[in-house]
């Protein structure tokens, strides 16, 4: 099926591209720039279209995540749009973008957590401006405002930062962000290596809550010192193991993993940070310099990602919270008290990642020194 916009666009583009191509040949202009001019003209108004077997390069998490995303979305997308998805899961994406430069993006769509996305956005003109992206996403009309608050990408699902604590070993339950520093948790609390996004958010939140504001790095360093001794983990999965074994009884986490542990029968509960409410997002960007058909496919895929049906699947399979207002939270999350309302999604806080990235070298060196003792 071909949308009306594409039929209109094809005729107009055909004429303009031919004219521009002839002019460019005469003037010796790089053909790439012509294609760029066209990519800005890609329009998607919803529905299915025939991409003529085009390839769409995407970057997203691997493993079980990839299996579910392929099964629930990509396999059908390839058939419906007559295209081929090339899926890359070898994180990190940042060096791959930077190595090729903006004009040779390795991926049409990339899925990010905030830190690296902002770093990439600061490194060059890699991404389609957000306003332009949103114009081409019919499903974006129904998403919460925070989903586009970064100005860089579209957040399509998220989890909340929290502490995970052992309900059988921590009494009374954790009630505030600063409870993590209580003396009784010395050696039994856990966080992550400095390259882990959870530690980055934890550090910035500590700066904000122990200091004047989130830029008060000295307060953050002092908070990390006061939290020692603590267990330092590489990944959240490893932290789950430490919690299960009781080697750690309170740890920095995001709520999806705590809920999964609860449903496995492990005696844990989350304390969702309330003093500052950062969220661990899944955010997608669309590369700026793409062939028109790729860009249109990218819009279509991102639009599908915001569809309530797929958002519900992510709720059910990964305990991810939806950004589409119309999604009814699935029982696995609803049973934990998670809702999808204006009130429950109000007040989310995005740290100043630009500032963090500018100071990253100092922060990493100093915090690594503190963690090393």
């Amino acid at each position: 099926m071909t949308s009306s916009s594409e039929r209109r666009g094809a005729t107009r583009r055909g004429f303009l591209k031919g004219t521009a191509g002839l002019a460019a040949m005469g003037a010796g202009v790089n053909l790439f720039n012509i294609n760029h001019a066209w990519s800005a003209d890609a329009v998607y108004e919803g529905g299915v279209f025939d991409a003529g077997g085009a390839t769409l390069n995407i970057a997203e998490w691997g493993g079980f995540w990839e299996e579910i995303v392929r099964k629930e979305m990509l396999d059908a997308f390839e058939k419906d749009f007559n295209c081929k998805i090339v899926y890359e899961s070898s994180f990190p994406w940042f060096p791959k973008f930077v190595a090729g430069g903006p004009e040779k993006p390795p991926f049409a769509i990339a899925n990010w957590n905030y830190g690296e996305m902002f770093k990439t956005a600061a490194a060059g003109d890699f991404f389609t401006p957000l306003d332009e992206v949103i114009e081409n996403l019919p499903n974006a009309k129904n998403i919460w405002p925070f989903a586009t608050a970064t100005g860089v990408g579209v957040t399509w699902s998220y989890t909340r930062y929290c502490y995970a604590y052992r309900t059988d070993l921590v009494d009374p339950p954790i009630k505030t962000f600063k409870d993590f520093w209580e003396e009784k948790f010395a050696g039994k609390r856990g966080t992550y290596v400095t390259s882990n996004g959870l530690q980055m958010d934890f550090f910035i939140a500590a700066c904000a809550l122990f200091g004047k504001d989130q830029y008060d790095l000295a307060a953050g360093y002092e908070a990390m010192k006061q939290a020692m001794p603590m267990k330092i983990s590489d990944f959240t999965g490893n932290m789950q193991t430490l919690l299960e074994r009781g080697e750690v009884i309170v740890a920095v986490q995001h709520d999806a993993e705590v809920y999964q542990m609860m449903d496995k029968g492990i005696k844990v509960a989350p304390y969702l940070w309330e003093e500052k409410k950062p969220i661990l997002t899944q955010t997608k960007t669309i590369s700026k310099y793409l062939e028109p058909v790729q860009k249109k496919l990218a819009y279509a895929l991102l639009n599908l990602t915001l569809d309530p049906k797929l958002q519900s699947v992510m709720c059910e399979k990964f305990y991810q919270r939806p950004v589409n207002k119309d999604v009814v939270v699935t029982p696995n999350l609803a049973s934990k008290g998670v809702t999808n309302t204006a009130d429950s999604t109000a007040g989310y806080w995005t740290p100043d990642w630009k500032s963090y990235n500018e100071n990253e070298a100092d922060i990493v060196e100093t915090v690594n020194g503190i963690f090393a003792g």
């Binding site: 390069n57 998490w61 691997g62 493993g63 079980f64 995540w65 990839e66 299996e67 090339v86 899926y87 890359e88 899961s89 070898s90 060096p95 791959k96 190595a99 090729g100 040779k104 390795p106 990944f235 959240t236 999965g237 490893n238 789950q240 193991t241 299960e244 074994r245 496995k264 492990i266």
Partner: protein, 267 residues
């Protein structure tokens, strides 16, 4: 009967301890893969085949396993041929360039794998020669990393090689190729075999160089294991490790047998 100096008990103890230290990670991986619990922990919470079954039923892990096997096999074949040829030149050349070339060939081992992988990736992308994120591009990376191991072992087997044997064959009418095939190749076969085994093991377990060269839709096993540990920390990765260890052990045994058979045939 040869007179051998008795091995001191201290030396034996140190050797035994070293052997235990080398084998301990293998034992831990095997036990962790047979863990009955939810997470990759040691000691295991009981023994079970659930994660082995999960590995065998996982499309992601099985395709990664087969992909890594094919990649390692092809890169081993190429590295073995190129490495052997390079070794022959290096061990026989009297040119001053040979020493410099020896160092040059060993560079990929000296360089950190991540640096090599990133450098190759940038080269592929900036030159736009169509190798970025392709099997051929990944294969080149693996050949660069594995070739030095073949060169090192084959060069070692060429030390003290008696050229007069080859000359004798030539004087009896053998062509250069026949003399090489029937004399030189058979004498250095153990070195080639050892190099090929090293190459296979290094390629099969290669992570750092692969990180930037991975082909979309096709993850090698180390990448699949890393991703699994990163997000789920399930023992499936350890179960995959059991099969990786088994494959490497099997390839080692098969290679050794092939060399032994060759010796029997020669005798």
């Amino acid at each position: 009967m040869r007179d051998e100096a008795p091995v001191s008990p201290v030396f034996k103890a140190v050797a035994m301890l070293t052997l235990v230290l080398l084998l301990l990670p293998v034992v831990i991986v095997v036990l962790a893969g047979l863990n009955a619990g939810e997470y990759l922990t040691f000691p295991p919470k009981g023994l079970s085949l659930r994660w082995v079954t999960a590995f065998l039923g996982s499309a992601t892990f099985m395709s990664a396993y087969i992909y890594s096997f094919v990649l390692a096999l092809v890169s081993t074949l190429i590295s073995t041929v190129l490495g052997t040829l390079a070794s022959l030149y290096l061990s026989r050349s009297r040119s001053g360039a040979a020493a410099a070339l020896r160092g040059f060939f060993m560079l990929p081992v000296v360089l950190p794998g991540v640096v090599l992988g990133l450098a190759l990736y940038i080269f592929y992308v900036t030159t736009d020669i169509g190798l970025a994120r392709t099997f051929a591009g990944l294969l080149i990376g693996h050949v660069l990393v594995t070739c030095p191991f073949v060169i090192a072992t084959v060069t070692a087997s060429m030390v003290g090689f008696d050229l007069s044997l080859e000359e004798a064959a030539r004087s009896l009418g053998a062509s250069p190729w026949t003399a090489f095939r029937k004399i030189t190749l058979r004498l250095i076969a153990p070195g080639i075999s050892a190099g090929a085994i090293f190459a296979f093991i290094v390629s099969f377990g290669q992570f750092e160089t692969t990180l930037f060269l991975t082909v979309p839709n096709h993850e090698p096993l180390p990448m699949a294991m890393y991703i699994s540990l990163r997000y789920k920390f399930e023992p499936t990765a350890a179960a995959a490790g059991i099969f990786a260890i088994a494959l490497v052990a099997l390839s080692t045994v098969v290679s050794s047998r092939l060399v032994s058979l060759r010796r029997v045939f020669r005798a």
